[in-house]
Symmetry: D3
Subunit: 218 residues, 6 copies
């Protein structure tokens, strides 16, 4: 459908792509703007290193440049790869899930914490928070440090998220959390309930902002 929102998962994982797609269901139900979720077939299976981030940028830029009919775009990786390059190749709005997840957190608490998957991404997050100019509202960034195999084990994953979220809340003083990863929307509500503070699923946050902007035609 012309003018719909295109959500691009920059990795090649169909599981993650499907999880993002499911996360779009409530927004789809409430909006007249369609939402399509795609993956980059040539992308890496997951995005961990800075090199992974850089490697998907040309793929994302090309995908957006070559799309004629989308009304707007969400780049569904928490490193917001290629966000500013993508904005050069289209007049339609382009959103990153890190940017939108964090901005949405600013409406839900005084200090936000990030729940990351791997510790090695934290320096990249810190650079990004600095570039966004929002470090004054930042409480902390902690990683669940879980392997791909373990990620498949929902019980372990959720338990780690609760443990890390508790540390962010009690030691770092976060009163709102952002899941620093796409594709984990299924855990959001349970995590928020368990911890007693709001939790942001960033691809939903980004799609929300994108749908409004598409409707407005900005």
């Amino acid at each position: 459908m012309s003018g719909q929102l295109l959500v691009i998962n920059p990795n090649s994982s169909t599981e993650v792509t499907e999880a993002i797609d499911r996360a779009m269901a409530p927004l789809r139900a409430a909006s007249g703007v369609g939402i399509k979720v795609v993956r980059l077939e040539d992308g890496p299976p997951g995005i961990e290193t800075q090199q992974d981030v850089e490697s998907v940028v040309p793929l994302i830029v090309r995908r957006i440049r070559d799309t004629n009919d989308a009304g707007g775009y969400v780049i569904a990786c928490f490193s917001d790869p290629g966000l500013h390059a993508a904005r050069e190749v289209t007049r339609r709005p382009v959103f990153g899930i890190a940017e939108c997840g964090i901005l949405t957190a600013l409406t839900l608490g005084a200090r936000f914490g990030l729940i990351s998957i791997l510790r090695q991404v934290i320096p990249r997050h810190l650079r990004y928070l600095g570039a966004m100019g929002v470090t004054e509202r930042f409480a902390g960034d902690r990683a669940i440090e879980i392997t791909v195999t373990e990620l498949a084990d929902e019980r372990t994953t959720f338990a780690r998220m609760v443990a890390i979220g508790t540390e962010l809340r009690d030691e770092n003083g976060a009163d709102v959390l952002v899941m620093a990863c796409a594709g984990m929307a299924e855990y959001r509500a349970r995590l928020a309930e368990t911890l007693g503070i709001p939790v942001i699923e960033p691809s939903q946050a980004a799609a929300s902002m994108a749908l409004g902007r598409i409707a407005l035609g900005w």
Copy 2:
């Protein structure tokens, strides 16, 4: 309709309320969530002084506390009066147009400028930007300094907005602007086109974020 978005104009002006209502049209057309715009009949005709801001807080809090069926709220005054008190009296999301207008600007440029109506509100804006922790992205705040009578003259108002927007762009280095006032959506597109940089209408920005959150049920 149950679950719809309630946009509260804290002043008593029907003209402003109707202008906000018209600004909601594109969002209404694209969303399955309804949008209702109301004014505070007991509010002041306009909100200029800090006393005006404080005077509407109990009215807004009461209105929200007494509403049973709204899915979410937008407080449509750029001072975001009562935002944090309102969040205490409802579990539904509450948005301020200053907060959302500024956060949306962060997705559209590197440094944002504010176009205010009166110079006297600028210290209040500065305090609010500090509280939001976004001063690093702030380019400047300038006022069109126009009287109520002159505001009725669209030609004068627009000319002042262009003049002030040009100063913010060229002297303060803003590459995105936020209209620091509700009810002036009619000028947005023309202003953006004339200045060549994006312009945010804050009640549309807030309603966009609110509709997404209502749909998600956060």
Copy 3:
């Protein structure tokens, strides 16, 4: 006496008002400017929620507007309710105890900590520190989390203050503390001595600054 300092306790508690009054004794003894401490009879018994804060603003503004003969004002609640609105209705200086307590702390240490009563006020404090632009000097804010009944028990209260102050000093790196509450001046000296770092009683800090400004006639 004309030109004297009026200290307004925005809650209706006579105990707190009397405690503030006693805290003024050394300043009274040393100054030719008189000091009068009053409570807001219509104020809430204590100020905890944002709604409590907002509820006292019109009372404070009215009290100041209707006072003819004061030389200056101190609003003796750590949320500084109505500070900026009050400054609109008088040409005499108006001080908030949070503002003055924190500014005074900047002359006594490198990083200040706040000892709050209840955890729920911390987000409000964080917004205020941001609005003041002093977060770079901020070490942390911790609450003694004590009920009104327990507050009457001096031994428990002091023990909690020592525990929280120790955490602020040793874990947050504070080298000066501010009591984020009026009416607890009796604990100040003992707390400072026990912890080995300066402790600010904010209504004394505010009255000090106010007396000087009244004398100068600024």
Copy 4:
């Protein structure tokens, strides 16, 4: 008199010392704490370079260490020379006029400007504002660039102050100004009236804070 405030002018100028002394008159009249103003006979005639600043530090430290009976100290030079060293040699409170002038400005406006004498001191002021952690409230620092001979000509000096103050107000957006120099209190009220915004005389601001602290015995 034992326990009185000792104001130390770190330069050797009797004119400046007498001007500071006259500035203390309203505070003396209102306080039971005495105020004594002295100069450093061995200090330089004026303090301009960083070397001048450093040269007076040992003199100030020695003067404070060797004073037995003062209740508190003000170092009356806008570079606050030796402030932290002085605090090591006495348990009585020591205040710098830059620190107190700037902190007082934070209670009188949203953004403060500094009126300096010579351009060459501005980098030193910028470092100090950074060390104080208050740059977010800083509007600008401009110098009247007047020679010692011209300073004697009150008409020229005042005209330059008005010119520079107008630039700080209109171009830098300052809504409160601090005179970045001791000994010019005579100009304060006229300057504030002419510019329509508050002006801080920093030695009066420092003495105000010091008198309160001496009275309190902190």
Copy 5:
């Protein structure tokens, strides 16, 4: 030579590469560590857009990964393309000229200004300054806005640099400037002399830091 410094010009221009090479002469003369300057043959002729930046990242990463014998690296483009990805593929130190140019400026003045070639790069610079966490020392960024053809005309280019540098010094308050571009070292000394404030040539600044680190073996 094994262990020498490899300076990579990420564009394909031989003129720029040779200019960078000449800029290395004084460092070569004084150091026992050799310096080799290369260009990316497959790079774009110049780097202006964000897409240009992204396009050279894989080329730079590959070049560094495939180099066996260098002792350290300088990426000689003011966008520091691929800096963090490059640091993942080698244990030898990698430096960006923007990072080093700006850090060196912090040792030479209180507030630094950037002289850019084109206005469109300024938002990218602002994001980078935020990521570096040095915005508090930032005075401004202005572009000489000169076309490639005009760049060949030294007289015009220098005149524009002087004009822009004067604005940065007098309107933005910069007391040290960084040339936000590689390959223009020939202008540095003359520009510094004309403006009366230090000017940083960033590839020289980066090579200086790199040579020390290679010598130390960190």
Copy 6:
């Protein structure tokens, strides 16, 4: 040798001076610019208090003013005593080891930690980080709290450094450390290896930057 780098140890300790001298060996070997390390015979045995810092300033300034043939200077005390005064008395570059150590850390990690000797110096460090404008990159400052006698015991000293470095890494989130002291270069490599993150020896960092600048003739 004319034009060489003069490294000034502001204390009178020959042990520290010799340790600094040994730390220069790799830089000496790689550079054509000579390096001479001297101590201030009249300086205190160690620099701990603010008074110690101030006491060496005139000695350093005089030493630099009276040196005719140095090409540049490093002040080898982590308080950077007299840095700005020294820059007034010579046209040759002057570097402080705190400034250079911290700036170098910014090229090696996202958040830096400081390993101090004594807790009492931390407030001074915090003021300096504020003056440098780099607090956004600052993770924490912890002291090994070791007496002069214990410092002679290498095993104890190293064990304390590992303990403190571990806390900075794991509790404060530092991914690069700076030794906040001169004369301990012998521990650097072992400490970095043990902790698994880079460690900066600040006199080496400063000498590196100085040698480049001397070679360039800036």
